[in-house]
Symmetry: C2
Subunit: 414 residues, 2 copies
């Protein structure tokens, strides 16, 4: 059975994701689609709109065969670390190809870009340092440095967010000496950061979330941009519908965390660097919302995403020390199953003996520090749900087996 991997967040699942899945099947001719999906906290340093379990159901309904959680230690990170985690999981499972969406759409350009970067990395670094010194953010400096190299080969524009991710997938495959073959398709219809609806059926997840959180926001508004299955799922799943979450849902907890910590304690948190703790302490007292807090915190030095990631690690009390320990090998320590169709189950049965990482389908406590971060992050994510749902969720993180999806009856069971 041939398998293709996708690396996703599905926050929430929309028509652009459906297109990505369809194109992946077409390009790879795979029998089985394996999605490595961020858990409850995402790459931009945000809590997910709905929990990983609800997003797993959306993925299964749309045709994904196997959903695996990207551990917190990778999911909440810059592209390089994010890619390391995702590729290590797909490779450990023996997935044949990985297919990602990119602005470029040409896999050769990615491979050439990697080659250039491998051979001219010192030059590149010197440029980056110079641009950072001039007051540019790191991503901006990287992009400018790339231009400054004046490369003749066909390379990808690394100022575009999906190209950056794609580049790091390709680089991770190279660094990990992985056998998985990278492929890419052109993203269509919307840009990653678009806040407004552009095309008639495809919109970015950003614009969909924006519509949901607007004061007059309803599910009707986003109906054209998400598959019917997602729509029905959001409507019928009371749990998901009542608890769309964003940073504002967690702002009281974040405020409490800051006000109850000394600056020395805050400085131990991962991604809180260069005195950022003092800015956090001084801004949080008067901020009446997370958004206002972030506006107060922002400087030229830090991107919004970088600051949100620092806030995520602050919320989950993830220290520099712990993160250093769990990222030592730059690879995931396990394959955590969130959901599967019959095909996914069959694929697992065929491949589990060859898998180079332990496969976890149901937790019964943990002594793995990487997995403990996932459990902690989920428990904190679930605190803001109403009782008694909350208590169930706190328990479920341990006890929940993967969701089983019957694609003929279109039914779920645990």
């Amino acid at each position: 059975m041939k398998a293709a991997g996708v690396i996703v967040e599905y926050n929430p699942f929309h028509n652009g994701h459906l297109y990505h899945l369809q194109q992946t099947r077409k390009e790879t001719k795979a029998d089985c689609i394996v999605a490595v999906m961020s858990g409850n906290f995402l790459q931009r340093g945000e809590p997910a709109l709905v929990s990983k379990w609800t997003r797993t159901r959306m993925a299964l309904l749309a045709g994904v065969d196997l959903v695996i959680e990207l551990p917190y230690a990778f999911a909440t990170q810059k592209a390089e670390i994010f890619a390391n985690g995702a590729i290590s999981i797909l490779e450990a499972l023996g997935v044949d190809e990985v297919c990602f969406g990119s602005e470029s759409g040409d896999i050769n350009s990615f491979l050439q870009t990697l080659q250039v970067m491998q051979t001219r990395v010192d030059e590149f670094d010197t440029y980056v340092q110079g641009f950072v010194k001039d007051g540019n953010s790191f991503p901006k400096s990287a992009s400018k440095a790339f231009h400054a190299l004046e490369i003749k080969e066909e390379v990808v524009d690394l100022s575009l967010p999906n190209n950056i991710l794609g580049y790091h997938y390709v680089k991770s495959i190279h660094d990990q000496q992985a056998k998985i073959i990278p492929k890419t398709i052109t993203r269509t219809g919307s840009n990653y950061h678009d806040e407004h609806f552009q095309s008639p059926s495809i919109a970015s997840a950003t614009s969909i979330r924006k519509a949901l959180f607007s004061p007059s926001g309803t599910l009707d508004e986003i109906k054209d941009y998400i598959p019917e299955s997602t729509y029905h799922h959001l409507v019928s799943d009371q749990l998901a519908f009542q608890h769309f979450r964003d940073w504002e849902s967690y702002f009281q907890l974040l405020k409490y965390k800051v006000l109850s910590s000394s600056s020395a304690e805050l400085e131990c948190i991962y991604e809180i660097e260069e005195g950022l703790e003092h800015r956090i302490i001084s801004q949080i007292k008067s901020a009446e919302s997370f958004h206002a807090f972030m506006e107060g915190l922002k400087t030229k030095r830090y991107t919004w995403t970088r600051l949100q990631r620092a806030c995520t690690h602050l919320l989950t009390n993830t220290s520099k020390k712990v993160m250093k320990d769990v990222l030592q090998e730059k690879k995931a320590h396990y394959i955590r199953l969130l959901g599967m169709s019959e095909k996914g189950r069959t694929y697992l049965q065929e491949n589990k003996k060859k898998a180079t990482l332990p496969i976890i389908s149901k937790l019964s406590g943990s002594t793995n520090a990487q997995l403990e971060l996932d459990i902690k992050a989920s428990q904190i994510y679930n605190i803001v749900a109403d009782e008694p749902i909350r208590s169930n969720l706190l328990h479920s993180e341990y006890a929940t087996p993967p969701i089983q999806y019957d694609s003929v009856k279109r039914e779920f069971s645990h």
Copy 2:
């Protein structure tokens, strides 16, 4: 000008407190009543019903002339440390007498009890250790040990809560070689822990809070047990009325604190001893309320109060190390003014030069670790108020000068 001190919590102010003030004036013939009052967290390890500012107004309306905050480091402690802090403040201000309510009502009995304890402390300690070994709580063991000594002198029953506090006031005066003269009056009409209304006009603060928090609870129900001034104040002060607080108000924050901390981090918290952190972690996941959590946590070994105090220090993230540092001298480091009448102001002017501790009327940042604990505790206490009140309160902790009370016009000003 002669001054008498009282040591109080006023949670909320009621007729029993009014009686205490009247009897204090009568017994001491003082011109000025100075109250040392717990801040936002109280001796039983609970958040106060209403903030220290609202309780200061209640005290001034009822005839107190000067309200001083008992620092968090003393207010949230067992009787011995609580008394050390309160007596050190009254003594530093040069207050002539302290008058406390007790079940005993006879100051000589307290003095004799102290003498017995000073001379037979080794015997006493041996008994206590024995009773603790038999599975008794510490307060129970102390009381049983006292009986076992078979003392002939007139001594006070140290199993009664107000006698214990009184005993420690007298002991603190002795230990600190303070000049302040202790007096006591008999408490009347209710017992400290009564949960139901007993006498026609005097009820315990416990029963008043219980009535307020009952599902059908209204202010009308407690009208007979509190002075008209307190009643009108509670009714008219929207802030106070809308935000009666108890542990349930802080349970989500406590849950977050536990779920985001490792057991090693919890073990650093003051009063978390002997593996209590493991019980806390295992109980908090399924608890749907603070009360249910406490029920799950309770064992014979720990009193409810002791556990609540541990939870308070957990909520405020107060470590063993910090508490040890700030309690080194067993005395308050400052006199923090919360409110005053004209008479209180005159008394202060007459005595401030003789005061042996710095008098703080308005904070402008702090480098004193004891005071920083107060600021942190207040900020955390204020987190659960609604916006935008919350932001004001977070600021006010620094900027608020003492409340000035005009007893002729019966008006407040800042």
